[in-house]
């Protein structure tokens, strides 16, 4: 599963941070709505990965809403307002930037917008 590849990459980066002497007490994994990662799967793979790496940290997973802003006309909208087919959702799941191929600004129909929030997985650390 794609989630396994990402979870392993997160754990590997965390191991590297700790090895560099960073004190990490808690890890917050934000799952951006756009990438539509399976929360349960991420939790399972991350917990297993942290255990295998012998990292004793608290972990919290949060969802982050996806939102966009058009660079042409300034309109803002949320992912929930965009019409995306299941096949397109699947493509965006692997490559979030594919969204620019499928979704257009609901106001001016431009492809030139930015993903303001909720692109994909990102990690915050608490020392």
């Amino acid at each position: 599963m794609h989630e396994l590849a990402l979870a392993e990459a997160i754990v590997s980066a965390l191991v590297s941070e700790v090895a560099k002497g960073q004190r990490v007490n808690k890890v917050v994994v934000l799952l951006g709505e756009l990438q539509n990662l399976d929360r349960e799967a991420m939790e399972q793979y991350l917990e297993a990965g942290l255990k295998e790496a012998n990292l004793n940290v608290r972990m919290e997973i949060k969802q982050e809403e996806a939102s966009f802003r058009c660079r042409r006309c300034g309109a803002s909208w949320r992912l929930s307002e965009a019409r995306i087919s299941p096949e397109e959702r699947e493509a965006i799941h692997y490559l979030p930037e594919a969204v620019y191929a499928y979704v257009r600004c609901p106001s001016c129909a431009s492809h030139d917008y930015e993903v303001v929030s909720g692109r994909g997985a990102r990690v915050l650390l608490e020392e």
Binding site: H2, L14, A91, E97, V115, L125
Partner: protein
């Protein structure tokens, strides 16, 4: 709370450390990066190596045309990530697998994000080499792969515009402290023109590839491409390139 380092950049750096990775790039377009990348990949695979080829020209993907594969319509098979297509013995990845041939325009950091995501999400398996077909220019993608540890294969033609442009790029990489850089002259009609400059900068000049009139007609037919004088010239530089 503070952001952790980008875990995808970290993973890509690991990948480039584990597997010898060649980023084929040029500040100029139309010098033959895509054709060279494809033929190089197929030659390495023909020699028994496990090879991956990633089309990182995200907004102008054409590697699939050279390989003769309809990436836009290929089903994406999920594994631990997604499985690359197997084309002529090469594990091939293209953004077209996810954009389905629709136009894709990316600004700035979106290109870097997409590049990292593609390389992390692919289930590569065991590899000996990775070849990255890069977009033209000294922009986000070039900066990204250079900073993540890829070996750079800087391609140029012997056209004065390309030579001037690439010369400037080489000086940039030198200033950036990039060490593993090879310079290659394609569609060559004379002796190497950048050998001295490459040497002065501490970079390796890999040689020249002659202009092949038959190459165009072979595009899209991997077997025919491997029987061109272009492929024979690329084969001659492979030992020097893999030693980079």
């Amino acid at each position: 709370m503070r952001p952790m380092m980008d875990f995808r950049a970290h993973r890509v750096k690991e990948l480039f450390r584990e597997v010898k990775t060649f980023a084929v790039l040029s500040s100029k377009g139309g010098v033959g990066k895509t054709t060279f990348s494809a033929v190089l990949s197929m030659l390495l695979a023909k020699g028994g190596a496990k090879v991956a080829l990633a089309d990182l020209d995200l907004t102008n993907s054409t590697t699939q045309l050279v390989l003769g594969v309809h990436a836009e319509g290929a089903p994406v098979e999920e594994g631990k990530g997604f499985k690359p297509l197997n084309v002529a013995g090469v594990k091939f990845v293209s953004p077209l697998l996810f954009t389905r041939g629709r136009p894709l325009a990316l600004r700035g950091s979106s290109a870097s994000e997409a590049l990292r995501e593609l390389l992390v999400a692919a289930e590569w398996g065991e590899l000996d080499f990775i070849v990255l077909d890069m977009p033209p220019g000294l922009k986000d993608e070039a900066l990204e792969v250079a900073s993540l540890g890829a070996r750079l294969v800087v391609l140029t033609t012997q056209d004065p515009l390309s030579l001037h442009s690439v010369s400037r790029a080489l000086r940039f990489f030198k200033e950036e402290g990039v060490e593993k850089v090879g310079v290659l002259e394609n569609m060559a009609y004379s002796a190497p023109l950048l050998r001295e400059e490459a040497g002065r900068l501490g970079f390796k000049h890999l040689g020249t590839i002659g202009f092949d009139r038959e190459l165009s007609a072979a595009i899209g037919r991997p077997e025919r491409m491997m029987n061109t004088s272009f492929a024979r010239d690329v084969e001659k530089i492979v030992p020097s390139l893999v030693a980079l």
